[in-house]
Amino acid sequence: MAGAAHPEAMAPRKKGSTRTAPPQTPTTWWSAPRIRTYLLFGATGGVYLLMGFLVLRLAWALGKGPQEWNAALSSLSNPLYIGFHALVLVSLIFVGLRAFGKMMPKMQPRGGPLPVLPAATVRGVIYGAWAVVTLFMVLVLSGVIF
């Protein structure tokens, strides 16, 4: 066994008379491929948290005045920020594909409330939406519009 689970995991409400060994987690917890995918899925939360801080920073700059705002916008051209935005884009696509490709079909109870679109349509919509958003951002940042 790899490590300890929560000491009270699956403990009965009333303790029995037999002394038990504490529950363990599986040995493969960190190494199984599907667990890695799940952890990667969870790790995208950290990316969104950082993105939230970035948005807060921009909002703060907006409140401070035009000079701060322009400085904040120009700082976004830093390669680090561009790399970060690429990471956010990849994270969102990954989560979108996992959510719509895996979760939505599971949400479909037989005769349930949500119709599920074909997987190819869902993929097309997600990639299409992000292509449009990316194109829009490129046009804005390059000064073609606005």
């Binding site: 699956m10 403990a11 409400r13 529950p23 987690t25 599907r34 109870p109 037989r110």
Partner: protein, 255 residues
Amino acid sequence: MSESQKMMRVEITRFDPDKDEVPKIQQYQIPVEPGWKVLDAVNYIKDHIDPSVAYRWSCRMAVCGSCGMMVDGEPKLTCKTALSDYGDAIRIEPLANFPIVRDLVVDIDGFMDKFRSVKPWIVRAKERAQDMEELNSRGTYSQTPAQLDAFRQFSMCINCLLCYAACPVVANEPEFIGPAAIALGHRYNIDSRDEGSRERNAIFRGEGTVFSCSFANECSEVCPKNVDPAAAVNQAKLGAVIDWAKGLILPKGGA
């Protein structure tokens, strides 16, 4: 035993609550026959080498759900898992996330508490005389094939607890009701004969809430009967939200 017979090293978790502070691993060298399942190896050890090994098993045909164990770190029904899928060595441990009673036997009382909490039986709000007359004319609680199909998959659960051993939320949140119990509660919620979904949805939203599920999907990956508990849990989330919203909007919660 022929000279060419394959030998295998089997590592088994041993724990005696009267002697041991923590579980330890014991190794056995056994001859294996072609076609053996993991359970056959444990039975061989029990019958020929060490009669003190404790474990649960019964039907040997993946129906009773008794022989769930961790095989090389994966929750498996040992009567359904071929030894030939593994190399020259194999590690057999008690189901993860459960307190260990002895060797490969885990304490399932915590599961039974959760199991009971979701009211896994048909709840009828009231039996009206005229309804009963009508019901009796059709056969009590009759269902169409489509109504049966709506929940049939979730009723295939054999309570083998592999899903609990695989679930990362169960490992970290003791209150979480867990995959099999939620799947069973949801199975009754979508049963056309049942009228207890409001009670169960309240339980699903309460302590041990279904919303603790982070959709690792591990439960469905390891389920030996293809029940797909992850589907049930996520459908139960939706059902619990719809029920909550109805309670806010409709008079008497839409009852």
